[in-house]
């Protein structure tokens, strides 16, 4: 009995030790470039090189571990207080080094390749985010959870994201709506099929009228839009922006005739972070309204 108790106590200790291992000992995961990143202990001092990565870290409860972030890291409000290390398209390597980070989260398609190459030489572990679809976003959350030790919160955030997206699947079966998504008004820019917003459009049962163009964010002309005759024209921006105003001069355009010029909330659809779910919901609702 005594022996047994002792043995039990030992087992219990061993079990406890094993259970606490992920937070105490080395953590490892793969980033979007397929690199294996191993940290001796979960990251405590993180630098975020994109606004959406800052949002990712806050969403998994690791916001307090960010010691440096790039400009426009403005969500949630607490992110505004993080020291800045420059812009996503050009940052201060010296300051980054001086902040003694134990993890840098970088944005493969947004950060300048030359600076990313320099980051590698600094010897600080770099996690590259290269999310291209809605499905990629929660996996980034989960893997960031591994690296920061916030696995539970990360899984929860990822699951919430997936559920919100899944809930939108019903829209994809409804009547397709022809949509022109306007990135910028002058020059008139849109997106092709590979862009993540097109993924959201597809989910919402919308057809990107310029999905087939080869460039990721092609410039088109008004004539092509008139000919495509979209049922809805959408853009992202602050309420009251005049970015869609010039379409009013084409009353024959289906989108204008049906009053479907839609301004979606700023940032939520454009940033590849957790709020993309919110942005996609807003898009789907707008598309569904245009459908009727």
């Amino acid at each position: 009995m005594r022996w047994l108790t002792r043995q039990r106590a030992l087992l219990l200790q061993l079990f406890l030790a094993l259970a606490s291992l992920p937070t105490q000992a080395a953590v490892t995961t793969q980033d979007d470039l397929g690199h294996t990143i191993t940290l001796p202990t979960p990251a405590q001092r993180i630098i975020s090189l994109a606004p959406h990565l800052t949002e990712d870290l806050f969403a998994i409860g690791a916001g307090g571990k960010i010691v440096g972030a790039v400009n426009y890291s403005d969500y949630p409000a607490a992110a505004n207080a993080i020291p800045r290390v420059g812009g996503y398209n050009g940052f201060d390597l010296e300051r980054i080094r001086a902040l003694k980070p134990d993890l840098i989260v970088a944005w493969k398609s947004g950060n300048p390749p030359r600076q990313l190459a320099q980051l590698d030489t600094l010897g600080i572990p770099v996690f590259y985010d290269d999310a291209r679809t809605l499905g990629d976003v929660p996996t980034v959350l989960e893997r960031l959870g591994m690296l920061t030790g916030n696995t539970v919160a990360a899984r929860a955030a990822a699951d919430t994201f997936r559920q919100r997206i899944m809930a939108l699947a019903k829209y994809s079966k409804r009547r397709p709506v022809r949509v022109f998504y306007q990135v910028w008004d002058r020059p008139l820019m849109t997106i092709n099929r590979q862009q993540i917003i097109s993924d959201a459009l597809f989910l919402c049962g919308a057809v990107n009228v310029f999905g087939d163009l080869p460039a990721l964010t092609p410039t088109v002309d008004d004539e092509a839009v008139l000919a495509a005759n979209p049922e809805m024209i959408a853009t992202s921006g602050d309420a009251g922006t005049q970015a869609l105003a010039h379409w009013q001069s084409w009353p024959n355009l289906a989108a204008v005739k049906n009053k479907q010029l839609v301004i979606l909330p700023r940032d939520v659809l454009v940033r590849m972070g957790p709020r993309l779910a919110e942005g996609t919901e807003a898009l789907c609702q707008a598309v569904d309204k245009a459908r009727q």
Partner: protein, 328 residues
């Protein structure tokens, strides 16, 4: 040109250029990123309303804007070359375009919409014009070195300011800002540009023979009764105004203002009486053709028209330079 310019040769040359320009206009109305054609208006086409919109509300204004902006640029380039007595001068050499770009970028950064930039761009162009002339307007030297260097210095300064604003700008604004650096005719308003071109040309052309003399030399111009100082003011203000309107309308489109006047000099001679109207017409036609190419070649995707003017214009110009250069 062996024989001196006569009225008849002037008229014939201009008619020939106008005919070519007209061909380009017809092409521009018929060709676009979509396959609609003007004649579909009449044959009971169900899309008649759409065709009317495409041809008359989109292609026609854009065509007129291209003609006016290209004309302004080539015209301003011709004037700057005479003013600075330097065939390498272009409309942007004295910083006018730089000032317009900086002001437009600043306005964009401060949250103004891309459609409302004409006013700040115009003010920026005017400001740099005044600064350059305040600093170097008293340069009456034959080579105009101080004016040229002041303009180049200010243009570089504006270039640096533009880069600064670009590096400060958020991602979304960058696209709109790049428009000012590459030039774009989509949505350009043609009226101001066309009226400006007509007025400025009418203002300067009566002085064309005086400009001939000025381009030969300041002292000989004075000896022949031209007041070089007053004429230079006229040249400077007209060239700056033309550039400012062009940039305000369509952003900074390169090469037209340098290549068209120089190509015409090689092809038609150096008489300003012909060169001014010919460059106004040819500049418009060249920009129009470049614009047709830029909107058709990858349709419906658009290319920056400045890229086409450079890609097609520079080799053509170099060929002309090689081909005609040896005869002299």
């Amino acid at each position: 040109m062996t024989a001196p310019l006569t009225r008849a040769r002037l008229a014939l040359t201009l008619i020939a250029i106008a005919a070519l320009t007209l061909c380009a206009v017809v092409a521009s109305l018929c060709i676009g990123s979509t396959s609609y054609r003007p004649w579909q208006l009449w044959d009971g086409n169900p899309d008649a309303a759409l065709v009317r919109d495409v041809v008359f509300s989109l292609r026609l204004p854009r065509t007129l804007a291209a003609l006016a902006v290209g004309g302004l640029l080539a015209f301003a380039g011709t004037l700057q070359q005479i003013l600075l007595r330097n065939p390498l001068a272009d409309p942007y050499v004295l910083g006018t375009a730089g000032g317009a770009s900086v002001a437009a970028l600043l306005a964009l950064l401060l949250g103004m919409g891309a459609g409302a930039l004409a006013l700040p761009a115009g003010i920026g162009a005017l400001l740099t014009t005044l600064i350059v002339f305040a600093l170097a307007g008293r340069d009456h030297s034959t080579r105009q070195t101080r004016l040229l260097l002041t303009g180049i210095a200010l243009a570089s300064f504006c270039g640096a300011l533009s880069s600064l604003l670009l590096s400060l700008a958020p991602d979304g604004l960058l696209r709109g800002m790049l428009f000012w650096l590459l030039g774009d005719l989509a949505g350009a308003h043609w009226r101001l540009a066309a009226i400006s071109l007509a007025l400025l040309l009418a203002l300067v052309w009566p002085f064309a023979r005086d400009l001939n003399l000025l381009s030969h030399g300041m002292q000989s111009a004075h000896a022949l009764g031209v007041d070089p100082r007053r004429l230079r003011w006229l040249l400077y203000l007209v060239a700056s105004a033309a550039t400012a309107v062009a940039v305000t309308t369509a952003g900074v489109i390169g090469f037209i203002g340098l290549i068209v006047p120089n190509a015409l000099r090689i092809a038609l001679g150096h008489d300003t009486r012909l060169l001014l109207p010919a460059s106004a017409l040819t500049g418009g036609a060249v920009l129009l053709i470049a614009d047709i190419v830029s909107r058709v070649i990858l349709a419906p995707q658009q290319l920056p028209v400045g890229v086409i003017t450079a890609l097609a214009g520079v080799p053509l110009f170099l060929w002309l330079l090689q081909h005609r250069g040896v005869q002299r």
